[in-house]
């Protein structure tokens, strides 16, 4: 059994190396983009990767971004592990924002200890139901969930804009005639605690980390989690051993969307204290990268979300320093996805896998255990 443990750690190391190598390859390819955009890639990366760490502001901002990324990433990992792809994080976040805002505004008198959980729960339900539509259609109508979640994104965005410009708009915006599409401020009881005066870092990060640990326990230590992973890994075998695959797909999607919805709540309660037009900042897509980068493992997603929080804050700083738009980070994230999914061939091919493994000092007959995953 001791040997098993050693192998497990070595397997983990192989995984980490492959993921980091993918990141490196993506950054190298991204360097060409900087060249095309007319910037010095070394300078740009220098700013992007180091400047945020150079002071409390950068670090806290990085962690502020990490909280929603972590939540979306957790949801996506749950879905992927259960055999269903959730590309609809962006829309689910918005629905979460809508629910959080509406509930927060309609319960102005409620004490904080009740109000915050109620808001989180409602955002969870909102995002979950929205994603559940795609899950249900995949399970019972065999509709490709990637296409349906993408379409639901576009629908959610329009719905969100409609509500922000109409029913949810801040009455002050109407009376002043400015008409900025944003909701009224939520009651202060709904705001998440800020840790350091003058910085936006809030308790949403702690909530996200706690939820990551809970998701880990859920997937690997409970019967429901076992069943969801079984359904994701081999739906046929799961059916033959009595599991209801369809119901599990819907459940996975609901949980997945629920987490994205809570990410929306975190942004409202922790950062803006109201709903704004461009509140999500692409977290729905970045969350996919975070989940893949974290090896679809809740405990891997914690550091992964910090890395991408860094990249996002860093790209804003880079934009100011070298005048390349921060949207380049979207392209780099796309490259990271392509690199990580491509690197999977090394994990699946026993010859290559053993080679890497042996380079790390593994025994000849040692076998690497994939921990139930297609990362």
């Amino acid at each position: 059994m001791e040997k098993n443990k050693a192998d497990k750690y070595r397997y983990l190391t192989v995984n980490i190396i492959i993921v980091l190598a993918s990141l490196l390859i993506a950054l190298v390819l991204g360097a060409f983009l900087f060249l095309i955009a007319g910037a010095n890639p070394f300078e740009a990366y220098g700013v992007m990767l180091t400047q945020p760490l150079d002071g409390l502001f950068g670090i806290t901002e990085m962690l502020v971004r990490a909280a929603p990324l972590m939540l979306v990433g957790l949801g996506i990992a749950i879905a992927f592990r259960s055999g269903i792809l959730n590309i609809g994080g962006e829309g689910q976040i918005m629905i979460g924002v809508i629910f959080a805002t509406a509930v927060g505004l309609s319960l102005p008198e409620m004490p904080k200890i009740v109000l915050v959980p109620v808001i989180f729960l409602s955002a969870f339900i909102g995002g979950g139901v929205w994603a559940g539509i795609a899950g249900w259609m995949r399970a019972y109508l065999n509709v490709n969930e990637i296409l349906s979640t993408v379409m639901l994104n576009y629908i959610a965005i329009q719905l969100y804009l409609y509500l922000l410009r109409g029913p949810l708009i801040d009455p002050k915006e109407v009376s002043y005639g400015t008409g900025v599409p944003q909701s009224a401020l939520l009651p202060e009881a709904a705001w998440l605690t800020r840790f350091i005066r003058g910085f936006r870092l809030h308790s949403g990060l702690v909530i996200a980390i706690v939820l990551a640990v809970i998701v880990f326990l859920f997937l690997w230590k409970t019967t429901v989690g076992y069943r969801m992973r079984a359904v994701g890994a081999e739906p046929k075998a799961a059916t033959y051993s009595g599991m209801n695959v369809k119901r599990n797909l819907v459940l996975a999607m609901v949980l997945s969307g629920g987490f994205a919805g809570m990410a929306g709540a975190v942004e409202v309660l922790g950062v803006h204290h109201r709903a704004l037009e461009s509140i999500s900042a692409g977290y729905g897509f970045s969350g996919i990268v975070v989940a893949l980068f974290g090896g679809l493992h809740p405990l891997g997603i914690i550091p992964a979300s910090a890395v991408f929080g860094l990249l996002i804050v860093g790209s804003d700083m880079m934009q100011r320093a070298v005048e390349v738009p921060a949207s380049i980070i979207l392209a780099i994230q796309g490259l990271i996805i392509l690199a990580i999914v491509s690197s999977n061939i090394f994990l699946r091919n026993p010859k290559l896998r053993d080679k890497i493994f042996r380079l790390l000092g593994g025994g000849k007959e040692a076998k690497i255990e994939p921990e139930g995953g297609r990362a």
């Binding site: 379409m151 409609y162 979207l330």
Partner: protein
């Protein structure tokens, strides 16, 4: 009035169908060979920008279209590299390609252009005589040349797929790759060709959007058309004619939604904009029964495995 609206919808709907048709026919070849390319949207975005930019700088729409097709082809090859050579999971790789195309086009647009700028692209060309036929003439024979091209490609794609030896190989590779392999057909090569062709066609779709239809570029110009094109392949049951009807249906819905705004009918703007997407979901949900007709090996990387 009603008739007028209907004709108006048809007249403005047909041009909207061209980009869907290009992208969807390309995606059809990709899927027929077994590769599910969700990166179409990203390819369209980047090639729309490149096409636009070439016209913006050089002023030649033809060169712009060629450049867009080249970029599309290159991105198709990238998708093929990831999904055929590296055998990556195709759904996620498509999303990677989407984010890549979106990010690059948005970035370069801001760096090199800055704001919304109009270009002289390709406009409508009326076909003499035919154009003078009442109603039909205006609907069918006063279009952008690229629209004619898109509809011309429908029978061409059908011929290539069903009447040529290459089409035969494509269909075999997407359904039973082992069978093709044992007859000496290179599964990888055919898939590379198809995904690249799909990329080129998406490039054409992107070029049409920026050079033909909008005659300008804006971030996220494609607004999900690439994803709709993928959905249309399912809707059209992997057949060019079916895809054509699908493209028409969606562009009419789109045009109708626009005319609701134009005619000032009291209906929330955002909800109207969302209708084509709702329609995609409904159509996908209602056509689920025919799903089994698709290429059986769709989405499955091929491993030569004959050990017994």
């Amino acid at each position: 009035m009603i008739l007028e609206i209907i004709i108006g919808v048809i007249i403005s709907g047909i041009p909207l169908s061209a980009s869907l048709l290009f992208a969807s026919l390309g995606e059809m070849f990709s899927q027929r060979s077994g590769v599910f390319n969700l990166g179409t949207e990203g390819i369209m975005m980047l090639s729309a920008f490149v096409g636009f930019y070439v016209v913006y700088i050089i002023g030649s729409p033809v060169l712009g279209i060629l450049a867009a097709m080249t970029i599309g082809g290159l991105m198709g090859m990238l998708m093929a590299l990831v999904s055929v050579t590296f055998k990556a999971q195709q759904g996620i790789s498509g999303i990677g390609l989407y984010m890549f195309g979106w990010g690059v086009s948005g970035t370069l647009f801001r760096v090199y252009v800055g704001g919304v700028t109009n270009i002289d692209g390709i406009g409508r060309v009326a076909i003499p005589v035919l154009m003078d036929i009442p109603i039909i003439g205006k609907i069918l024979f006063n279009q952008n040349p690229m629209v004619y091209l898109a509809y011309l490609l429908v029978p061409v794609a059908g011929y290539v797929l069903f009447r040529t030896s290459w089409g035969l190989k494509v269909r075999a590779v997407g359904t039973t790759p082992q069978a093709a392999d044992t007859l000496g057909v290179s599964v990888e090569r055919i898939r590379y060709q198809c995904v690249t062709l799909g990329g080129v066609m998406s490039g054409l779709a992107g070029a049409y959007l920026s050079i033909g239809q909008a005659q300008m570029f804006a971030d996220n110009l494609t607004a999900g058309r690439g994803f709709i094109a993928v959905a249309l392949v399912y809707f059209g049951r992997w057949k060019p004619v079916g895809i054509m009807w699908g493209a028409l249906l969606f562009s009419m819905a789109h045009a109708l939604q626009r005319s609701i705004q134009v005619y000032g009918i009291d209906f929330p703007y955002e909800i109207a904009v969302a209708t084509p997407y709702v329609l995609v979901i409904l159509v996908l949900a209602l056509t689920y029964k025919g799903r089994s007709l698709g290429p059986l090996a769709l989405g499955k990387p091929y491993n030569r495995e004959f050990r017994g």
